[in-house]
Protein backbone atom coordinates (compact mmCIF):
# COMPACT_ATOMS: atom_id res chain seq x y z
CA UNK A 1 0.00 0.00 0.00
CA UNK A 2 2.71 2.47 1.01
CA UNK A 3 4.84 1.42 -1.97
CA UNK A 4 2.02 1.99 -4.45
CA UNK A 5 1.10 5.31 -2.89
CA UNK A 6 4.69 6.51 -3.00
CA UNK A 7 5.01 5.49 -6.65
CA UNK A 8 1.88 7.42 -7.56
CA UNK A 9 2.98 10.37 -5.44
CA UNK A 10 6.43 10.50 -7.01
CA UNK A 11 4.86 10.90 -10.45
CA UNK A 12 3.66 14.36 -9.35
CA UNK A 13 6.88 16.29 -9.87
CA UNK A 14 5.84 19.50 -8.07
CA UNK A 15 4.70 17.47 -5.07
CA UNK A 16 8.07 15.74 -4.75
CA UNK A 17 10.00 19.02 -5.03
CA UNK A 18 7.60 20.55 -2.51
CA UNK A 19 8.05 17.70 -0.06
CA UNK A 20 11.79 18.34 -0.23
CA UNK A 21 11.26 22.06 0.34
CA UNK A 22 8.97 21.52 3.35
CA UNK A 23 11.45 19.08 4.88
CA UNK A 24 14.28 21.55 4.32
CA UNK A 25 12.33 24.44 5.89
CA UNK A 26 11.36 22.30 8.87
CA UNK A 27 14.94 21.13 9.39
CA UNK A 28 16.44 24.62 9.07
CA UNK A 29 13.90 25.97 11.57
CA UNK A 30 14.35 23.11 14.00
CA UNK A 31 18.13 23.53 13.91
CA UNK A 32 18.02 27.34 13.99
CA UNK A 33 19.74 27.73 17.39
CA UNK A 34 22.69 25.73 16.10
CA UNK A 35 22.78 27.19 12.60
CA UNK A 36 22.81 30.86 13.49
CA UNK A 37 25.28 32.72 15.68
CA UNK A 38 22.87 35.64 16.17
CA UNK A 39 20.36 36.15 18.96
CA UNK A 40 16.83 36.21 17.51
CA UNK A 41 15.37 38.56 20.15
CA UNK A 42 18.14 40.79 21.49
CA UNK A 43 18.23 44.28 19.90
CA UNK A 44 21.57 45.23 18.37
CA UNK A 45 21.34 48.96 17.78
CA UNK A 46 24.61 49.22 15.87
CA UNK A 47 23.28 47.16 12.97
CA UNK A 48 19.82 48.66 12.36
CA UNK A 49 18.10 48.10 9.00
CA UNK A 50 21.10 46.82 7.09
CA UNK A 51 20.41 45.47 3.60
CA UNK A 52 21.30 41.85 2.84
CA UNK A 53 25.05 41.26 2.90
CA UNK A 54 27.58 38.51 3.45
CA UNK A 55 27.32 39.01 7.20
CA UNK A 56 23.54 39.20 7.36
CA UNK A 57 22.28 37.11 4.45
CA UNK A 58 18.77 38.60 4.50
CA UNK A 59 19.70 41.90 6.17
CA UNK A 60 18.65 43.15 9.60
CA UNK A 61 15.41 44.54 11.02
CA UNK A 62 14.62 47.87 12.71
CA UNK A 63 16.19 46.68 15.97
CA UNK A 64 19.33 45.43 14.25
CA UNK A 65 18.51 41.73 14.61
CA UNK A 66 19.56 39.30 11.89
CA UNK A 67 16.50 38.75 9.72
CA UNK A 68 17.32 35.20 8.62
CA UNK A 69 17.77 34.14 12.24
CA UNK A 70 14.42 35.63 13.19
CA UNK A 71 12.75 34.01 10.18
CA UNK A 72 14.13 30.57 11.11
CA UNK A 73 13.10 30.98 14.75
CA UNK A 74 9.75 32.31 13.54
CA UNK A 75 9.40 29.23 11.36
CA UNK A 76 9.56 27.02 14.44
CA UNK A 77 6.55 28.79 15.93
CA UNK A 78 4.58 29.26 12.70
CA UNK A 79 5.04 25.69 11.50
CA UNK A 80 4.39 24.21 14.96
CA UNK A 81 1.16 26.18 15.17
CA UNK A 82 0.23 24.90 11.71
CA UNK A 83 0.86 21.26 12.60
CA UNK A 84 -0.63 21.34 16.12
CA UNK A 85 -3.76 23.17 14.98
CA UNK A 86 -4.13 20.64 12.18
CA UNK A 87 -3.82 17.66 14.55
CA UNK A 88 -6.41 19.04 16.92
CA UNK A 89 -8.76 20.03 14.10
CA UNK A 90 -8.48 16.55 12.59
CA UNK A 91 -9.28 14.91 15.94
CA UNK A 92 -12.35 17.13 16.48
CA UNK A 93 -13.48 16.90 12.85
CA UNK A 94 -13.05 13.13 12.65
CA UNK A 95 -14.96 12.57 15.88
CA UNK A 96 -17.84 14.82 14.83
CA UNK A 97 -17.94 13.43 11.28
CA UNK A 98 -17.73 9.80 12.42
CA UNK A 99 -20.52 10.13 14.98
CA UNK A 100 -22.74 12.05 12.57
CA UNK A 101 -22.14 9.72 9.64
CA UNK A 102 -22.29 6.45 11.57
CA UNK A 103 -25.30 7.06 13.80
CA UNK A 104 -27.28 9.33 11.48
CA UNK A 105 -30.69 10.55 12.68
CA UNK A 106 -30.90 13.39 15.19
CA UNK A 107 -27.20 13.19 16.10
CA UNK A 108 -26.33 13.72 12.44
CA UNK A 109 -28.81 16.58 12.15
CA UNK A 110 -27.58 18.33 15.27
CA UNK A 111 -23.88 17.96 14.48
CA UNK A 112 -24.21 19.00 10.86
CA UNK A 113 -26.29 22.09 11.73
CA UNK A 114 -23.53 22.98 14.20
CA UNK A 115 -20.96 22.47 11.44
CA UNK A 116 -22.91 24.73 9.08
CA UNK A 117 -23.24 27.36 11.78
CA UNK A 118 -19.51 27.29 12.48
CA UNK A 119 -18.77 27.55 8.77
CA UNK A 120 -20.98 30.62 8.55
CA UNK A 121 -19.14 32.76 11.07
CA UNK A 122 -16.50 35.10 9.65
CA UNK A 123 -13.79 33.08 11.31
CA UNK A 124 -11.02 35.64 11.65
CA UNK A 125 -13.24 37.85 13.79
CA UNK A 126 -14.21 35.02 16.13
CA UNK A 127 -10.60 33.89 16.13
CA UNK A 128 -9.46 37.27 17.44
CA UNK A 129 -12.03 37.18 20.25
CA UNK A 130 -11.30 33.53 21.12
CA UNK A 131 -7.58 34.17 21.29
CA UNK A 132 -8.16 37.07 23.68
CA UNK A 133 -10.52 34.89 25.72
CA UNK A 134 -8.22 31.86 25.92
CA UNK A 135 -5.28 33.99 27.05
CA UNK A 136 -7.07 34.77 30.30
CA UNK A 137 -7.25 31.16 31.43
CA UNK A 138 -4.92 30.75 34.38
CA UNK A 139 -2.77 28.13 32.66
CA UNK A 140 0.86 29.20 32.28
CA UNK A 141 1.35 27.70 28.79
CA UNK A 142 -1.56 29.77 27.48
CA UNK A 143 0.04 33.05 28.49
CA UNK A 144 2.64 33.21 25.74
CA UNK A 145 -0.22 32.91 23.33
CA UNK A 146 1.02 30.01 21.20
CA UNK A 147 -1.25 27.37 22.70
CA UNK A 148 -4.18 29.78 22.85
CA UNK A 149 -3.77 30.39 19.13
CA UNK A 150 -3.49 26.67 18.37
CA UNK A 151 -6.71 25.96 20.29
CA UNK A 152 -8.55 28.85 18.68
CA UNK A 153 -7.50 27.96 15.13
CA UNK A 154 -8.34 24.28 15.64
CA UNK A 155 -11.70 25.10 17.15
CA UNK A 156 -12.59 27.16 14.09
CA UNK A 157 -11.24 24.85 11.38
CA UNK A 158 -12.46 21.30 12.03
CA UNK A 159 -15.57 21.67 9.89
CA UNK A 160 -14.21 20.64 6.48
CA UNK A 161 -12.74 17.49 8.01
CA UNK A 162 -16.05 16.70 9.71
CA UNK A 163 -17.93 16.96 6.42
CA UNK A 164 -15.44 14.73 4.59
CA UNK A 165 -15.43 12.08 7.31
CA UNK A 166 -19.22 12.09 7.51
CA UNK A 167 -19.50 11.61 3.74
CA UNK A 168 -17.01 8.72 3.85
CA UNK A 169 -18.85 7.10 6.79
CA UNK A 170 -22.23 7.39 5.09
CA UNK A 171 -21.09 5.20 2.21
CA UNK A 172 -18.70 2.92 4.15
CA UNK A 173 -21.12 1.97 6.93
CA UNK A 174 -23.35 0.19 4.40
CA UNK A 175 -20.47 -2.14 3.49
CA UNK A 176 -20.75 -5.89 3.96
CA UNK A 177 -17.66 -5.88 6.17
CA UNK A 178 -19.54 -3.75 8.72
CA UNK A 179 -22.33 -6.31 8.80
CA UNK A 180 -19.74 -9.08 9.17
CA UNK A 181 -18.07 -7.30 12.07
CA UNK A 182 -21.42 -6.79 13.77
CA UNK A 183 -22.31 -10.46 13.27
CA UNK A 184 -19.06 -11.36 14.99
CA UNK A 185 -20.20 -9.34 17.97
CA UNK A 186 -18.26 -6.08 17.53
CA UNK A 187 -19.76 -3.05 19.25
CA UNK A 188 -20.38 0.32 17.60
CA UNK A 189 -17.21 1.91 18.95
CA UNK A 190 -15.09 -0.94 17.68
CA UNK A 191 -16.73 -0.89 14.27
CA UNK A 192 -16.20 2.87 13.96
CA UNK A 193 -12.55 2.83 14.96
CA UNK A 194 -11.31 -0.48 13.57
CA UNK A 195 -13.46 -1.12 10.54
CA UNK A 196 -14.83 2.10 9.08
CA UNK A 197 -12.24 4.73 10.02
CA UNK A 198 -9.32 3.14 8.09
CA UNK A 199 -11.44 3.39 4.94
CA UNK A 200 -11.81 7.11 5.47
CA UNK A 201 -8.06 7.62 5.94
CA UNK A 202 -7.31 8.96 2.44
CA UNK A 203 -9.59 12.03 2.48
CA UNK A 204 -8.53 12.74 6.07
CA UNK A 205 -4.83 12.70 5.16
CA UNK A 206 -5.35 15.04 2.22
CA UNK A 207 -7.54 17.45 4.19
CA UNK A 208 -5.07 17.38 7.09
CA UNK A 209 -2.21 18.42 4.82
CA UNK A 210 -4.17 21.35 3.43
CA UNK A 211 -5.20 22.33 6.98
CA UNK A 212 -1.54 22.82 7.93
CA UNK A 213 -1.17 25.30 5.06
CA UNK A 214 -4.29 27.27 5.90
CA UNK A 215 -3.48 27.30 9.63
CA UNK A 216 -0.11 28.88 8.82
CA UNK A 217 -1.89 31.57 6.76
CA UNK A 218 -4.44 32.12 9.53
CA UNK A 219 -1.76 32.51 12.17
CA UNK A 220 0.13 34.97 10.01
CA UNK A 221 -2.98 37.11 9.49
CA UNK A 222 -3.80 37.06 13.19
CA UNK A 223 -0.26 38.02 14.13
CA UNK A 224 -0.16 40.70 11.43
CA UNK A 225 -3.19 42.34 13.04
CA UNK A 226 -1.41 42.19 16.39
CA UNK A 227 -3.69 39.62 18.04
CA UNK A 228 -1.40 36.63 17.53
CA UNK A 229 1.88 35.64 19.15
CA UNK A 230 3.26 38.70 20.91
CA UNK A 231 6.62 40.31 20.16
CA UNK A 232 9.54 39.87 20.67
CA UNK A 233 8.87 36.16 19.98
CA UNK A 234 9.06 36.07 16.19
CA UNK A 235 6.54 34.35 13.93
CA UNK A 236 6.30 34.78 10.19
CA UNK A 237 3.14 36.83 10.67
CA UNK A 238 4.17 39.22 13.41
CA UNK A 239 7.46 39.98 11.65
CA UNK A 240 5.29 41.65 9.03
CA UNK A 241 3.38 43.66 11.62
CA UNK A 242 5.51 46.79 11.38
CA UNK A 243 6.81 46.00 7.94
CA UNK A 244 4.34 48.31 6.23
CA UNK A 245 5.99 51.40 7.73
CA UNK A 246 9.47 50.18 6.87
CA UNK A 247 8.71 48.92 3.42
CA UNK A 248 9.98 52.04 1.66
CA UNK A 249 13.31 52.29 3.48
CA UNK A 250 13.91 48.59 4.08
CA UNK A 251 11.80 46.43 1.77
CA UNK A 252 13.68 43.27 2.73
CA UNK A 253 12.19 43.33 6.25
CA UNK A 254 8.74 42.85 4.70
CA UNK A 255 9.52 40.77 1.66
CA UNK A 256 11.58 37.93 3.15
CA UNK A 257 9.18 36.82 5.93
CA UNK A 258 6.35 36.94 3.40
CA UNK A 259 8.34 34.90 0.90
CA UNK A 260 8.94 32.22 3.56
CA UNK A 261 5.21 32.03 4.37
CA UNK A 262 4.47 31.84 0.67
CA UNK A 263 6.91 29.02 -0.08
CA UNK A 264 5.99 27.01 3.00
CA UNK A 265 2.28 27.26 2.20
CA UNK A 266 2.55 26.62 -1.54
CA UNK A 267 4.81 23.63 -0.91
CA UNK A 268 2.40 22.14 1.62
CA UNK A 269 -0.49 22.72 -0.79
CA UNK A 270 1.39 20.87 -3.52
CA UNK A 271 2.17 17.97 -1.19
CA UNK A 272 -1.57 17.83 -0.49
CA UNK A 273 -2.27 17.80 -4.23
CA UNK A 274 0.22 14.99 -4.74
CA UNK A 275 -1.31 12.99 -1.90
CA UNK A 276 -4.76 13.43 -3.40
CA UNK A 277 -3.53 12.06 -6.72
CA UNK A 278 -1.73 9.22 -4.99
CA UNK A 279 -4.53 8.21 -2.66
CA UNK A 280 -7.59 8.71 -4.83
CA UNK A 281 -7.37 6.68 -8.04
CA UNK A 282 -10.59 8.20 -9.38
CA UNK A 283 -9.36 11.76 -9.16
CA UNK A 284 -8.71 13.18 -12.66
CA UNK A 285 -6.07 15.81 -13.14
Amino acid sequence: MVGVTWRRFSRHRMAVISLGLVTLLALLSALAPWLSRYDPDKPQLSTQLQPPSGKHLLGTDDLGRDLLTRILFGGRISMSIGVLAMLLAVVIGTTVGAVAGYYGGWADNLLMRLTDLMLSIPSLFLLILMTLLLRTFPVPVLRGGVLAIVLAIAFLSWMTVARLVRAAFLSLKEGVFVEAARALGAGNARIIVRHVLPGAASPIIVAATLRVASSIITESGLSYLGFGVQLPTPTWGNMLRNAQDQMIVAPWTAIFPGVFIFFAVIAINYVGDGLRDALDPRHVR
Binding site: M14, L119, S120, I121, P122, S123, L124, F125, I128, L129, L132, L133, R135, T136, A213, I217, S220, G221, Y224, L225, F227, G237, L240, A243, Q244, M247, I248, P251, A254, I255, G258, I261, F262, V265, I266, N269, Y270, D273, V284
Partner: protein
Amino acid sequence: MSSYLVRRLWQMVPILFGVSLGAFAFLQAVPGDPARLLAGPDATLQDVQLVRARLGLDRPLILRYVYFLRNALVGDFGRSFRSGEAVAAIVARHFGPTLLLSVASVVFATVTGLGVGLLQAVRRNTAPDYVSTVVSVAGISTPPFFLGLLLIYLLAVGLRWFPTGGMGTARSLVLPALTLGAGVAATIARFARSSLLEVLGEEFVRTARAKGLEERSVLLKHALRNALIPVVTMIGLQFGFLLSGAIVVETVFSWPGLGWLMVQSISFRDYPVLVAEILLFSLQFLVINLVVDLLYAGLDPRVAYG
Protein backbone atom coordinates in the same frame (compact mmCIF):
# COMPACT_ATOMS: atom_id res chain seq x y z
CA MET B 1 -41.94 29.24 -4.37
CA SER B 2 -43.14 32.21 -2.32
CA SER B 3 -44.13 29.96 0.58
CA TYR B 4 -40.61 28.52 0.48
CA LEU B 5 -39.20 32.05 0.64
CA VAL B 6 -41.43 32.96 3.57
CA ARG B 7 -40.43 29.80 5.43
CA ARG B 8 -36.74 30.45 4.87
CA LEU B 9 -37.04 34.06 6.01
CA TRP B 10 -39.00 32.98 9.09
CA GLN B 11 -36.28 30.47 9.98
CA MET B 12 -33.79 33.35 10.22
CA VAL B 13 -35.54 34.88 13.23
CA PRO B 14 -34.59 32.28 15.88
CA ILE B 15 -31.06 32.08 14.46
CA LEU B 16 -30.57 35.83 14.81
CA PHE B 17 -31.95 35.70 18.38
CA GLY B 18 -29.45 32.97 19.18
CA VAL B 19 -26.60 34.88 17.59
CA SER B 20 -27.39 38.08 19.51
CA LEU B 21 -27.53 36.21 22.84
CA GLY B 22 -24.31 34.37 22.01
CA ALA B 23 -22.59 37.60 21.00
CA PHE B 24 -23.64 39.29 24.24
CA ALA B 25 -22.40 36.48 26.46
CA PHE B 26 -19.22 35.93 24.47
CA LEU B 27 -18.18 39.58 24.45
CA GLN B 28 -18.78 39.78 28.16
CA ALA B 29 -16.37 36.90 28.67
CA VAL B 30 -13.58 38.44 26.58
CA PRO B 31 -11.16 40.15 28.94
CA GLY B 32 -10.81 43.91 28.96
CA ASP B 33 -13.10 46.40 30.68
CA PRO B 34 -14.53 49.01 28.30
CA ALA B 35 -15.07 51.45 31.17
CA ARG B 36 -11.43 51.23 32.23
CA LEU B 37 -10.20 51.51 28.65
CA LEU B 38 -12.38 54.55 28.05
CA ALA B 39 -11.56 56.27 31.35
CA GLY B 40 -7.86 56.14 30.47
CA PRO B 41 -4.77 55.00 32.36
CA ASP B 42 -4.82 57.82 34.95
CA ALA B 43 -8.45 57.42 35.98
CA THR B 44 -9.31 56.72 39.60
CA LEU B 45 -11.55 53.86 40.59
CA GLN B 46 -14.34 56.37 41.07
CA ASP B 47 -13.95 57.72 37.53
CA VAL B 48 -14.12 54.20 36.17
CA GLN B 49 -17.28 53.54 38.18
CA LEU B 50 -18.84 56.70 36.78
CA VAL B 51 -18.00 55.72 33.21
CA ARG B 52 -19.33 52.23 33.86
CA ALA B 53 -22.63 53.64 35.10
CA ARG B 54 -22.84 56.00 32.13
CA LEU B 55 -22.36 53.08 29.71
CA GLY B 56 -24.97 51.09 31.58
CA LEU B 57 -22.44 48.37 32.35
CA ASP B 58 -23.31 48.36 36.06
CA ARG B 59 -26.55 46.55 35.30
CA PRO B 60 -26.66 42.75 35.12
CA LEU B 61 -26.04 41.11 31.76
CA ILE B 62 -29.56 39.68 31.43
CA LEU B 63 -31.13 43.08 32.00
CA ARG B 64 -28.81 44.67 29.43
CA TYR B 65 -29.73 42.01 26.93
CA VAL B 66 -33.45 42.53 27.48
CA TYR B 67 -33.04 46.30 27.01
CA PHE B 68 -30.98 45.67 23.90
CA LEU B 69 -33.63 43.39 22.43
CA ARG B 70 -36.45 45.81 23.17
CA ASN B 71 -34.61 48.66 21.46
CA ALA B 72 -33.18 46.56 18.63
CA LEU B 73 -36.65 45.45 17.60
CA VAL B 74 -37.46 49.07 16.75
CA GLY B 75 -34.12 49.61 15.02
CA ASP B 76 -32.17 51.20 17.89
CA PHE B 77 -28.91 49.36 18.51
CA GLY B 78 -27.64 51.68 21.22
CA ARG B 79 -24.73 54.07 21.19
CA SER B 80 -21.03 53.47 20.66
CA PHE B 81 -19.04 53.38 23.91
CA ARG B 82 -16.24 55.27 22.26
CA SER B 83 -17.93 58.09 20.33
CA GLY B 84 -21.46 58.12 21.76
CA GLU B 85 -22.79 58.08 18.21
CA ALA B 86 -25.77 55.87 17.35
CA VAL B 87 -24.50 52.39 16.40
CA ALA B 88 -26.92 52.13 13.48
CA ALA B 89 -25.43 55.29 11.96
CA ILE B 90 -21.83 54.10 12.46
CA VAL B 91 -22.48 50.70 10.94
CA ALA B 92 -24.43 52.23 8.06
CA ARG B 93 -21.51 54.54 7.31
CA HIS B 94 -19.00 51.68 7.16
CA PHE B 95 -21.31 49.30 5.34
CA GLY B 96 -21.06 51.05 1.98
CA PRO B 97 -17.27 50.81 1.63
CA THR B 98 -17.27 47.10 2.56
CA LEU B 99 -20.13 46.37 0.18
CA LEU B 100 -18.30 48.21 -2.60
CA LEU B 101 -15.08 46.35 -1.86
CA SER B 102 -16.73 42.91 -1.64
CA VAL B 103 -18.77 43.37 -4.80
CA ALA B 104 -15.73 44.62 -6.72
CA SER B 105 -13.68 41.66 -5.46
CA VAL B 106 -16.35 39.10 -6.27
CA VAL B 107 -16.88 40.52 -9.76
CA PHE B 108 -13.13 40.53 -10.39
CA ALA B 109 -12.74 37.03 -8.93
CA THR B 110 -15.70 35.55 -10.82
CA VAL B 111 -14.73 36.99 -14.20
CA THR B 112 -11.06 36.05 -13.85
CA GLY B 113 -11.75 32.71 -12.20
CA LEU B 114 -14.32 31.55 -14.75
CA GLY B 115 -12.24 32.82 -17.66
CA VAL B 116 -9.11 31.06 -16.48
CA GLY B 117 -11.02 27.90 -15.55
CA LEU B 118 -12.64 27.77 -19.00
CA LEU B 119 -9.31 28.32 -20.73
CA GLN B 120 -7.73 25.56 -18.63
CA ALA B 121 -10.50 23.07 -19.31
CA VAL B 122 -10.41 23.69 -23.06
CA ARG B 123 -6.63 23.65 -23.30
CA ARG B 124 -6.24 20.83 -20.81
CA ASN B 125 -2.67 19.65 -20.13
CA THR B 126 -1.05 22.30 -22.33
CA ALA B 127 1.33 25.06 -21.32
CA PRO B 128 -1.45 27.62 -20.56
CA ASP B 129 -3.17 25.06 -18.33
CA TYR B 130 0.02 24.33 -16.37
CA VAL B 131 0.92 28.00 -16.00
CA SER B 132 -2.57 28.92 -14.82
CA THR B 133 -2.55 26.04 -12.35
CA VAL B 134 0.72 27.22 -10.82
CA VAL B 135 -0.60 30.80 -10.68
CA SER B 136 -3.82 29.71 -8.97
CA VAL B 137 -1.99 27.58 -6.39
CA ALA B 138 0.21 30.62 -5.78
CA GLY B 139 -2.92 32.76 -5.39
CA ILE B 140 -4.31 30.44 -2.74
CA SER B 141 -0.95 30.27 -0.95
CA THR B 142 -0.31 33.99 -0.51
CA PRO B 143 -1.60 35.53 2.72
CA PRO B 144 -3.85 38.43 1.63
CA PHE B 145 -2.03 41.01 3.71
CA PHE B 146 1.30 40.07 2.14
CA LEU B 147 -0.14 40.35 -1.36
CA GLY B 148 -1.52 43.75 -0.34
CA LEU B 149 1.87 44.89 0.97
CA LEU B 150 3.56 43.75 -2.24
CA LEU B 151 1.01 45.55 -4.42
CA ILE B 152 1.41 48.73 -2.36
CA TYR B 153 5.17 48.50 -2.65
CA LEU B 154 5.24 47.84 -6.39
CA LEU B 155 2.25 49.72 -7.79
CA ALA B 156 1.60 52.47 -5.25
CA VAL B 157 5.03 53.38 -3.86
CA GLY B 158 7.11 52.29 -6.85
CA LEU B 159 5.08 53.14 -9.94
CA ARG B 160 2.66 55.56 -8.23
CA TRP B 161 -0.24 54.24 -10.27
CA PHE B 162 -2.56 53.89 -7.29
CA PRO B 163 -2.88 55.49 -3.85
CA THR B 164 -1.33 53.53 -0.95
CA GLY B 165 -4.56 53.47 1.02
CA GLY B 166 -7.76 55.17 2.06
CA MET B 167 -10.93 55.51 0.04
CA GLY B 168 -11.12 58.24 -2.53
CA THR B 169 -11.41 58.02 -6.28
CA ALA B 170 -12.18 54.84 -8.23
CA ARG B 171 -8.43 54.27 -8.42
CA SER B 172 -8.23 53.66 -4.67
CA LEU B 173 -10.55 50.66 -5.08
CA VAL B 174 -8.27 48.76 -7.47
CA LEU B 175 -5.56 47.46 -5.14
CA PRO B 176 -7.83 46.42 -2.23
CA ALA B 177 -10.22 44.66 -4.62
CA LEU B 178 -7.36 42.83 -6.36
CA THR B 179 -5.90 41.79 -3.00
CA LEU B 180 -9.18 40.56 -1.60
CA GLY B 181 -10.26 38.89 -4.84
CA ALA B 182 -7.02 37.11 -5.75
CA GLY B 183 -7.46 34.08 -3.51
CA VAL B 184 -11.13 33.77 -4.43
CA ALA B 185 -10.31 34.02 -8.13
CA ALA B 186 -7.79 31.21 -7.76
CA THR B 187 -10.28 29.02 -5.91
CA ILE B 188 -12.99 29.67 -8.51
CA ALA B 189 -10.57 28.86 -11.35
CA ARG B 190 -9.62 25.50 -9.84
CA PHE B 191 -13.22 24.64 -9.16
CA ALA B 192 -14.45 25.77 -12.58
CA ARG B 193 -11.73 23.73 -14.31
CA SER B 194 -12.56 20.44 -12.63
CA SER B 195 -16.30 21.06 -12.83
CA LEU B 196 -16.07 21.81 -16.57
CA LEU B 197 -13.87 18.79 -17.25
CA GLU B 198 -16.46 16.63 -15.56
CA VAL B 199 -19.34 18.12 -17.55
CA LEU B 200 -17.45 17.91 -20.85
CA GLY B 201 -17.33 14.14 -20.42
CA GLU B 202 -21.13 13.83 -20.13
CA GLU B 203 -23.50 12.34 -22.67
CA PHE B 204 -25.41 15.52 -23.43
CA VAL B 205 -22.19 17.27 -24.46
CA ARG B 206 -21.47 14.46 -26.88
CA THR B 207 -25.03 14.75 -28.18
CA ALA B 208 -24.62 18.50 -28.66
CA ARG B 209 -21.43 17.93 -30.59
CA ALA B 210 -22.95 15.05 -32.58
CA LYS B 211 -25.84 17.15 -33.75
CA GLY B 212 -23.32 19.53 -35.30
CA LEU B 213 -23.33 22.46 -32.90
CA GLU B 214 -20.37 24.80 -33.03
CA GLU B 215 -17.79 24.10 -30.31
CA ARG B 216 -18.28 27.63 -28.98
CA SER B 217 -21.97 27.07 -28.47
CA VAL B 218 -21.39 23.62 -26.94
CA LEU B 219 -19.00 25.16 -24.43
CA LEU B 220 -20.91 28.27 -23.50
CA LYS B 221 -24.51 27.10 -23.73
CA HIS B 222 -24.31 23.45 -22.72
CA ALA B 223 -21.18 22.82 -20.71
CA LEU B 224 -20.61 26.11 -18.88
CA ARG B 225 -24.18 26.44 -17.71
CA ASN B 226 -24.13 23.02 -16.07
CA ALA B 227 -20.65 23.46 -14.71
CA LEU B 228 -21.80 26.67 -13.01
CA ILE B 229 -23.95 24.90 -10.42
CA PRO B 230 -21.16 23.80 -8.07
CA VAL B 231 -19.27 27.02 -8.85
CA VAL B 232 -22.17 29.18 -7.68
CA THR B 233 -22.30 27.33 -4.35
CA MET B 234 -18.61 27.88 -3.99
CA ILE B 235 -18.83 31.61 -4.69
CA GLY B 236 -21.55 31.81 -2.05
CA LEU B 237 -19.33 30.04 0.47
CA GLN B 238 -16.45 32.34 -0.43
CA PHE B 239 -18.40 35.34 0.87
CA GLY B 240 -17.71 34.20 4.43
CA PHE B 241 -14.07 33.96 3.55
CA LEU B 242 -14.31 37.39 1.95
CA LEU B 243 -15.58 38.93 5.18
CA SER B 244 -12.64 37.46 7.08
CA GLY B 245 -10.34 38.66 4.34
CA ALA B 246 -11.90 42.13 4.48
CA ILE B 247 -10.79 42.50 8.10
CA VAL B 248 -7.16 42.10 7.04
CA VAL B 249 -7.33 43.86 3.67
CA GLU B 250 -9.19 46.88 5.05
CA THR B 251 -6.53 47.20 7.74
CA VAL B 252 -3.71 47.02 5.18
CA PHE B 253 -5.28 49.68 2.96
CA SER B 254 -6.94 51.79 5.72
CA TRP B 255 -10.23 51.15 3.92
CA PRO B 256 -13.01 52.59 6.14
CA GLY B 257 -15.26 49.50 6.04
CA LEU B 258 -16.79 47.09 8.55
CA GLY B 259 -13.60 45.04 8.91
CA TRP B 260 -11.57 48.08 9.80
CA LEU B 261 -14.33 49.20 12.19
CA MET B 262 -14.26 45.77 13.78
CA VAL B 263 -10.53 45.87 14.55
CA GLN B 264 -10.97 49.36 16.03
CA SER B 265 -13.99 48.30 18.08
CA ILE B 266 -12.26 45.22 19.46
CA SER B 267 -9.39 47.35 20.72
CA PHE B 268 -11.86 49.54 22.65
CA ARG B 269 -14.22 46.69 23.60
CA ASP B 270 -16.99 48.72 22.00
CA TYR B 271 -19.70 46.09 22.73
CA PRO B 272 -22.69 47.81 21.05
CA VAL B 273 -20.83 48.24 17.76
CA LEU B 274 -19.48 44.68 17.90
CA VAL B 275 -22.88 43.12 18.62
CA ALA B 276 -24.42 45.04 15.73
CA GLU B 277 -21.60 43.94 13.41
CA ILE B 278 -21.95 40.30 14.42
CA LEU B 279 -25.69 40.46 13.75
CA LEU B 280 -25.15 42.13 10.41
CA PHE B 281 -22.59 39.53 9.33
CA SER B 282 -24.89 36.67 10.33
CA LEU B 283 -27.82 38.23 8.46
CA GLN B 284 -25.62 38.78 5.44
CA PHE B 285 -24.54 35.15 5.50
CA LEU B 286 -28.11 33.87 5.82
CA VAL B 287 -29.27 36.04 2.93
CA ILE B 288 -26.37 34.96 0.70
CA ASN B 289 -27.14 31.30 1.42
CA LEU B 290 -30.76 31.89 0.52
CA VAL B 291 -29.81 33.63 -2.72
CA VAL B 292 -27.46 30.75 -3.61
CA ASP B 293 -30.26 28.23 -3.04
CA LEU B 294 -32.60 30.28 -5.21
CA LEU B 295 -29.94 30.56 -7.94
CA TYR B 296 -29.75 26.75 -8.03
CA ALA B 297 -33.38 26.57 -9.03
CA GLY B 298 -32.71 29.10 -11.76
CA LEU B 299 -29.69 27.22 -13.11
CA ASP B 300 -30.77 23.64 -12.76
CA PRO B 301 -34.30 22.82 -13.91
CA ARG B 302 -34.21 19.58 -11.88
CA VAL B 303 -34.16 21.57 -8.63
CA ALA B 304 -37.53 22.81 -7.44
CA TYR B 305 -38.54 24.28 -4.10
CA GLY B 306 -42.06 23.88 -2.83
